[in-house]
Symmetry: D2
Subunit: 418 residues, 4 copies
Amino acid sequence: MKAASAFVVESPDVVYSPETIEAHYDYRTTRVIREGGVLKVQPTSTRFTFRTARQVPRLGVMLVGWGGNNGSTLTAAVLANRLRLSWPTRAGRKEANYYGSLTQSGTVSLGLDAEGQEVFVPFNALLPMVAPDDLVFDGWDISSLNLAEAMRRAQVLDCGLQEQLWPHMEALRPRPSVYIPEFIAANQSARANNLIPGTRAQQLEQIRKDIRDFRHREELDKVIVLWTANTERFCDVVQGLNDTAENLLCTIQNTLVPGALELAEQHRVFVGGDDFKSGQTKVKSVLVDFLISSGLKTMSIVSYNHLGNNDGQNLSAPQQFRSKEVSKSSVVDDMVQSNPVLYALGEEPDHCVVIKYVPYVGDSKRALDEYTSELMLGGTNTLVLHNTCEKGVAPVAPNGCTGDTNGHPQGASPMPMA
Amino acid sequence: MKAASAFVVESPDVVYSPETIEAHYDYRTTRVIREGGVLKVQPTSTRFTFRTARQVPRLGVMLVGWGGNNGSTLTAAVLANRLRLSWPTRAGRKEANYYGSLTQSGTVSLGLDAEGQEVFVPFNALLPMVAPDDLVFDGWDISSLNLAEAMRRAQVLDCGLQEQLWPHMEALRPRPSVYIPEFIAANQSARANNLIPGTRAQQLEQIRKDIRDFRHREELDKVIVLWTANTERFCDVVQGLNDTAENLLCTIQNTLVPGALELAEQHRVFVGGDDFKSGQTKVKSVLVDFLISSGLKTMSIVSYNHLGNNDGQNLSAPQQFRSKEVSKSSVVDDMVQSNPVLYALGEEPDHCVVIKYVPYVGDSKRALDEYTSELMLGGTNTLVLHNTCEKGVAPVAPNGCTGDTNGHPQGASPMPMA
Amino acid sequence: MKAASAFVVESPDVVYSPETIEAHYDYRTTRVIREGGVLKVQPTSTRFTFRTARQVPRLGVMLVGWGGNNGSTLTAAVLANRLRLSWPTRAGRKEANYYGSLTQSGTVSLGLDAEGQEVFVPFNALLPMVAPDDLVFDGWDISSLNLAEAMRRAQVLDCGLQEQLWPHMEALRPRPSVYIPEFIAANQSARANNLIPGTRAQQLEQIRKDIRDFRHREELDKVIVLWTANTERFCDVVQGLNDTAENLLCTIQNTLVPGALELAEQHRVFVGGDDFKSGQTKVKSVLVDFLISSGLKTMSIVSYNHLGNNDGQNLSAPQQFRSKEVSKSSVVDDMVQSNPVLYALGEEPDHCVVIKYVPYVGDSKRALDEYTSELMLGGTNTLVLHNTCEKGVAPVAPNGCTGDTNGHPQGASPMPMA
Amino acid sequence: MKAASAFVVESPDVVYSPETIEAHYDYRTTRVIREGGVLKVQPTSTRFTFRTARQVPRLGVMLVGWGGNNGSTLTAAVLANRLRLSWPTRAGRKEANYYGSLTQSGTVSLGLDAEGQEVFVPFNALLPMVAPDDLVFDGWDISSLNLAEAMRRAQVLDCGLQEQLWPHMEALRPRPSVYIPEFIAANQSARANNLIPGTRAQQLEQIRKDIRDFRHREELDKVIVLWTANTERFCDVVQGLNDTAENLLCTIQNTLVPGALELAEQHRVFVGGDDFKSGQTKVKSVLVDFLISSGLKTMSIVSYNHLGNNDGQNLSAPQQFRSKEVSKSSVVDDMVQSNPVLYALGEEPDHCVVIKYVPYVGDSKRALDEYTSELMLGGTNTLVLHNTCEKGVAPVAPNGCTGDTNGHPQGASPMPMA
């Protein structure tokens, strides 16, 4: 079956104009009311109108940590696809593709055709979307290596591909960035040779200037800033510091504290979530969802990870690991809370997450997990996984097993900085 | 959070009477029309009315292969729960439960409460359902062992539990059954000492008589017949034999051939599917769904299984394995067909399924799987699983890791035999 | 082939008398001399005389930490074998055995018979040895539970076996012991209700008195003291404290410091080694030996362990883990140093050892290892292991997968304390 | 520690002359005599004299199946080492080496030096040995591809290495060979385009002529013929056909039947064994040796393999797999027979070996094993392995994880054919 690339919705709820597609949608769900020990369930309906511009914007992407493994690989991936590169490997020539991208390689079911067969379209055919080939990249890095050198240091891509990309990547050079040793691991200081001078306030002003400069120079309609730098240390919420949008703007920072959420709401900006992607953690959420939804009582989850890239080194510092541990541990909570039949209030499985730095394995992330669940009448199910993720990056949508089990932002920056 | 046990729907679409709950539901989906290379998508809506009796019936369950590991364990599980048994194990006393049952241990989200918190109720609180404790069991088996002896042979349950169940199980004795060596493996003949004499027609008449007898003796409102016997050999569709309901009734058989489906439609009977449950195969469907939905191109799936119970021995015969292989292989097809971006027409991953009989492991099923998927730019993801399923049966709903990775019926019998 | 149980050596080098077996043995090896860049190899021969008493002694064993999982299981194992117990399990009756014991279940090749077939005898047929059934047990523990209660707490043995052992174990009660919170993890204080009062010197005197008392009461010829308590914290060598036998006797302690070795030599006492047994670590030594001996260059070894017994809790304290980490890491060093072709001076594989406390898995130790080795021309071999060790103890000889992946003594006490 | 490269033995038992090294060695062992239920053990000693030429011969190697993955990779490996090639990979430049070769990368302990330190020398320093760099290659193949093309088809080596080797490999072209479809899998016929015409007798004569031709043309002192072609079908011993050396020479064949052994003895030629090397099987022999020697009773061994190269395809034919299965199964027998304490006469573990053809994984062999062993008192140890062997060949000595888990010769040809 060939993926259809275009379709028209024939419905009074969908109106096409030359500029926009306007869709009305009734979102039906239920409201639950507790009245004297009885639950009352009432249907509710909300009418949404979605208006989508048919002309996609010229879009720039600025990466924090552009020269890291993720940043350099993402940039290389878009270039390789745009240039339709292919390169030799011992298993034959490989062609650039967007495997692992929800929008480029994922599909959506449109419905049934006359023969009762499901019709699937590529995810990116659903609505007008910017093609990743058209993205314009820029970014910051505390290391001054140009993107070609960064790509070589990352040791992610095949040599034959690196060779072809070299002249294109060489011209790309990260802007100076901000390095605060207390926030990322001290072991990163050897890389830090490309820094913005001055006070924090001056540094902030430079960052804002960089964004305006990029937008203007490249004649962009929009700029997205993505965190792909090292995991920062864990950040407590402090009253008067990062609890409100107003306080946040005085102290300026990039973690997903309440003030950042409030600010995003004020400016009607999306918060992209607090993790660029996911490998083992995503598989865990899928499996725990399956196990508990099946009525099995998962009793222990033990997750061991090791990797040898720069993120691994950064995470070998306790404070950075703490931040990662929090994000990795919480993935189970929702599922446990969804099943009060299996888990009493406050009860939860043993859950242990370990990340170790093992230089030899490089960017080939390894994850070893063990799930033990109780079955009826004292039976147990033990599921053991070993996952090897040899390089690879999901370019646009955060999903699958990507180059970044580790580049964990505590928040995509939603601040209207420029 | 405690699971709420009852709720009321306040909606004009739901009407409660003393006898029934009547619900109207608009099922909205889309129809796709291909017109000159263009896909047209039209919304459709179908109004369903669901009427559910508030008084649950007195329900009998007849198992084909009652004395097998599944049949004896399912019966024991219901008894242990009904009698609220507990028994000592080296890790402390265990209590009977229904872990692994969708209806008894699964939950459903009702909606959000006033604080925006999701409210979950047990699955069995959704609508009036028969409690598994109230099921009445009967069945057939080619082996004459009573259910207590069958339980001991199965080696599934802890000794301390078996001891308490013994007097209750001892009185249960399977009815004589039909043994056709060509349909299940010849290695089963040693068990076959409890057979209905006579011609095929006489045997059929006895089976029908058994069902009527059970219903009458136990004063049952309904009887469900479940196949939990060995996997039968693979069955081709033969014109004039099993292609229509009419032909089927002349030749009578229990596999899910087109005639059986037609007959079920004529009598408005549900077809329960073609597999009692699933262990490795279910995990595979979850993982392949995740991988391909994420845009990863899964290239090879290798699944090795071994087990040491009677099903393992039966499946060591090639024709029975063929039948199992078909059901286990097809699980990937839907996902591959859903993504024409990744897979060209006719392209599919290497997929290999092996089942071996290893007596020592007994009813502890082992599954070893390897999934290899391609990432962007030539990267690969290799996921290796080892799954140990120590005994256990999901009693009512077919799900989770149950005692039967193997007792694969080609069809739950939908025939109005009595 | 049946294991022969007795044999006679007919050789002028072996002389049997009613009391002893006296054997002369020439140990031939080589001496290497470095002379001006050239290695000279000279054969050497040393004549040993081994005299073995034919009458085995009445032997007592005192366990430090008698009430722990190891101590209680070892005692139970000897009792179960001595009493020839059998007990029901769901997989049939089990009989007491000494599987996992080098001396009781291991064999040795005697040589070839007239038909050129190898003849094997049980290890314990080689020379007169004390049968484990004849051992007399006693010991100390900081917890006052009697051995029956300790066995139940350990959750290691099947219920049916525990029941039969109970009256025999109940009468066994550990002597009060010494608890110094700084030396084992603080999380052990909840157990410490059975302590010797007084100063360190008074405690030492009581320990010596206990040994004399045990020997006298049971009319023993010899007493062996075995450490099976928690791993102590890592111990540095301090001049004037534990560096010589003389200093050690003033400060008295039980770790394998140089002073302890010197003292053992002075008294011609064997030092039993610094680890009671081995599970994952033993497998690692076998595999690394195999890999490097085969000329493969092992580049990374990552070992994850988790367990849920009291040792796991003790090891969750950093100082105790440090001690364990040292003993677990050194296993690779010898092999690396044995191959200067593969490893340059100072070069070694990445080696990472993690031990986590996961209460749910109890005494079922889990080990996940990953070995990555380089092959010729850039190929790699990745070996991943998952090892589940469900209870079990090797009673006499330290080997196999035993109940104690964790009860790591830093030294069997060689001190002539009584 | 640097590996010493040369040494001198100073002993009256070792005499160096300009041409030879002559060593006398007393091999001491024991003889066992059964006399009336008593075993008598008598020491024996045999004096051997080993004379080794100090001048290594000019040595040719002829490979049966030269153009296969093993043959082409072995040839490439020797060339890459001889030419001291290095090539780029994404993880940096790699240099040619002999990792995985017992003789080139293995070491041997010479003895202790004056400081009590063990002194290790490379295995190949023990006695004069031909360096693999000096080997001269030739061989036969049923496919006419030259060695460069064969190397590309094999997809084993990195592109950058292949590129440099191409001109050297291109000139090497296998001699026509013999293809008897009944002996290797019919699925190999597509490759068979390079065949010796004529009757079997004429084909044999041509093979003999090839050996003489190679020896003469290259001025070789010795020629070794190695089987590295596909696994042949299982071969029964037939009286009058392959039971004696005489019969064998009339019917001529290359499997390790009794006649071949007799012929080898008559000509004082070594029989190299019946398997070129081993991956999973070697690991199994190491682990089973360890487990049973430790007194653990291994109860089930389940070994699953899959691979995607031509050997995998050949082995997907039942008769070829049978041959492999026999060789893979027997590895456990010796260990089981060595321990009559654990295994009664005739008792053995469940042992199951599966090999599947999964094209996608190519020459990356995957092995999944599960070992279950019984511990004392009903405990069990379950060891699960996943082994990935990414290409690689052990060039001279058969060991380690090599390119040929599959190219199983039933016998290296010991026949004095030329």
